[in-house]
């Protein structure tokens, strides 16, 4: 593939991503945001974070070894630690080290 074409593809990716990120702000730039959009803005963050967790785990296979067990253990560890201590760094580091040990050692 030519470098020019590669550069064009990168520009396309950048442009489409920017449009997606700018669009909601552009639409409601000069007028009051409608009640309905405010409602969505208030409750969407909760739903989106649930979606992002599932999105991160989408490639886990529960039908073939190791059946998603390392992911399950590590996610539960992070959640429990975070409920208990509420320290983001501790929760993330512990969960990640746990996960790396599980998939590298076993």
């Amino acid at each position: 593939m030519s470098n020019t074409h590669a550069a064009i593809l990168i520009a396309v990716m950048a442009l489409v991503t920017m449009i997606l990120r700018f669009l909601p702000f552009m639409i409601f730039r000069d007028r009051e945001t409608p009640e309905y959009i405010n409602f969505l803005g208030k409750y969407l963050p909760y739903s989106i974070m649930g979606m992002l967790v599932v999105y991160c785990l989408k490639d886990v296979s529960i039908t073939s070894s190791p059946f998603g067990i390392p992911e399950l253990i590590s996610v539960v560890l992070v959640a429990v630690l975070h409920f208990w201590k509420r320290n983001t760094l501790v929760s993330i580091v512990s969960g990640t080290v746990c996960y790396m040990l599980l998939i590298q050692v076993f």
Binding site: M1, H5, A6, I8, L9, I10, A11, V12, M13, A14, V16, T17, M18, L20, R21, L23, P24, F25, F28, I37, F39, L40, G41, K42, Y43, L44, P45, Y46, S47, I48, M49, G50, M51, L52, V53, V54, Y55, C56, L57, K58, D59, P70, E71, S74, V75, A79, H82, F83, R86, T88, S91, I92, V93, G95, T96, Y99, M100, L102, I103, Q104
Partner: protein
Amino acid sequence: MNLKLLKAAIIKTLPIMAGYMVLGMGFGILLKINGYGVLWVLAMSIFVYAGSMQYVGISLITGGASIISTALTTLMVNARHLFYGISMIQRYRGAGLKKLYLMFALTDETYSLVCNGDYPEGAIPHEYYFLVSLCDQIYWVIGSVMGSLIGSVITFNTEGIDFAMTALFVTVFVEQWVDTKEHRPSLIGVGASVLCLLLFGRENFLIPTMISIIILLTVCRGALERGGVASE
């Protein structure tokens, strides 16, 4: 720009630093292996600045994809960013010139830090959000450049270190859960995603998920607003 605020932003973004450095390095290494050096890495990490899309982008570039299919793929992979925008409209209102960058730099990870609307006492929120966004992108750029330059000499086994991102989202999810008695939006998010993942498969489930989340929230709107216990 005051140093105290910068310090607060750096502390807040430490978890992202770990994750972005590693994921960024992974990206830099992969792109380098495929024959595209540090300038290409810089171009993508500065202008595209979307983690999963950049990984997908490697295969588009090396596979010689067409412009149309590149545009459509980007649309599918990044459509979730529309959501982030919708929930940040009020918060980013009136940020002036900084708003341009705030909108541009709203990645998954940055969104997870700013969506709750917390900021240090006495700070101007927009300045704080700006620094958080900027720190995150700097980590991402440094990580990916490092990957491109020194990637091949890394000796320890980093397999699984990308779990840091999953862990980050789990902690934000837990924060949100503890902060409110209204758990339906969180449950809708998880439930709709799992259901759509099973129905549509891992490649295509994001867009149906987003549509079902909007529908379910809209259906519950009356009940949610009567409850009105969700914290800002």
